[in-house]
């Protein structure tokens, strides 16, 4: 009892002070990105990037091999009123393509179009060698291998192979090894080639804000000297948030399609 009383008298003000100062100052480690990050409260769903420049035009090889001539929907990048992309792909096409259509994998960076539908979480492994990025939307995830080099024989995948390192307090993530089956973002009407190369720079600019800046390269699609940069997006920390299950189930589409077809009979 004496100890408790002593504790209350002596330490309670200290603890309260510490708590208040923590809340007010929101101390944080700028290299600690762990937590759930989501759309800014003022974000515009489906229009997720701040763009400084449009994507580079396709090379002739890209025009012949990568365009989605069936058209795209959600022309979220660039002029939403445009009837065609700069590469002649119809925009806002009925039944057009978009990342994740028919439960297809989105991959990266396409999944980042939809953070307003599902946040993502960074998880650090105990050995310090990896950071895992869990995307709630379509339940996708990828690994950042810290301070490693890409292997010489990267196997092509939807997510690619990602290595990362710190530059100051910015986590630089370098990804290659894509399989060319994804869509970069809603408004780009072509697929990446297997030479697609993504560089992401994550900077925790404040306690509850995370800035992502991206630069993309694709020497087959855009040429060896071209890059698409000026893409940035800010995410909001969601303290206490937990990722939810998001499974895209094709049979549920079929159920709805069947209902729609029956409704028209």
């Amino acid at each position: 009892m004496i100890k408790n009383t002593f504790f209350r008298i002596s330490f309670t003000p200290f603890l309260l002070s510490a708590t208040f100062s923590s809340v007010l100052a929101q101390d944080y480690d700028p290299r600690d990105l762990a937590g759930v990050w989501g759309e800014l409260p003022t974000g515009r769903p489906g229009f997720n990037y701040q763009m400084e420049t449009p994507p580079p035009p396709l090379t002739q090889w890209g025009m012949d091999n990568l365009r989605m001539m069936e058209g795209i929907t959600h022309a979220a990048v660039g002029d939403r009123n445009a009837e065609f992309t700069i590469n002649g792909v119809p925009t806002n096409a009925l039944g057009g393509q978009y990342p994740g259509k028919d439960c297809e994998p989105l991959g990266m960076p396409g999944n980042l179009d939809y953070v307003d539908f599902g946040p993502f979480e960074f998880i650090y492994t105990r050995d310090g060698g990896r950071i895992i990025q869990m995307m709630e939307y379509h339940r996708e995830w990828r690994t950042f291998w810290l301070d490693e080099e890409h292997p010489d024989d990267v196997f092509p995948t939807y997510m690619g192979h990602s290595v990362a390192h710190w530059e100051g307090n910015t986590l630089v993530v370098d990804t290659i090894g894509y399989n060319g089956m994804t869509q970069l973002t809603q408004g780009v009407g072509h697929r990446p080639s297997d030479a697609f190369h993504l560089v992401e720079r994550y900077t925790r600019i404040s306690y509850d804000r995370l800035l992502l800046e991206m630069t993309m390269y694709d020497e087959k699609a855009w040429g060896p000297d071209a890059s698409w940069d000026g893409l940035s997006k800010t995410f909001a920390l969601m303290p206490g948030e937990r990722l939810q299950e998001f499974i895209c189930v094709p049979s549920e589409f079929e159920e709805f399609d069947s209902a729609l077809e029956e409704s028209m009979e």
Partner: protein, 126 residues
Amino acid sequence: MKYFTILLVLFGGAISTQISAHHGYPQYNMGQRVPMQGTVITYRLGNPHTHMTISVINDAGEEEVWAVETTWTLRGMRARGFTPNLLQAGDEVNLLVSPALNGDRTAVFQSIEFEDGRILPPPENN
């Protein structure tokens, strides 16, 4: 129902937008919200979108089945107060929906008003 039909005719040519969908959805007139009264046939809360089918009696007294979907994911539906058993087959419902422009009997769900006056999602959260 007559009001619903009239509004469909009046605003059928209005500006349309497309929602985030996962298959070949028709275009919807997202800027327009029209009332739909009917009876729940099915209701499935899920990802990427929630689906329901609604039986509606048209002006000729015939039954029409409408396929209604939401733009919100399951996360969005939960945040707006929807639960798996919120609606049951046979429930009479008053909805606000955004209809398809191509004549299909399908629409995007906007809100539901219950008999006690409660509206989901709450107007401030829609």
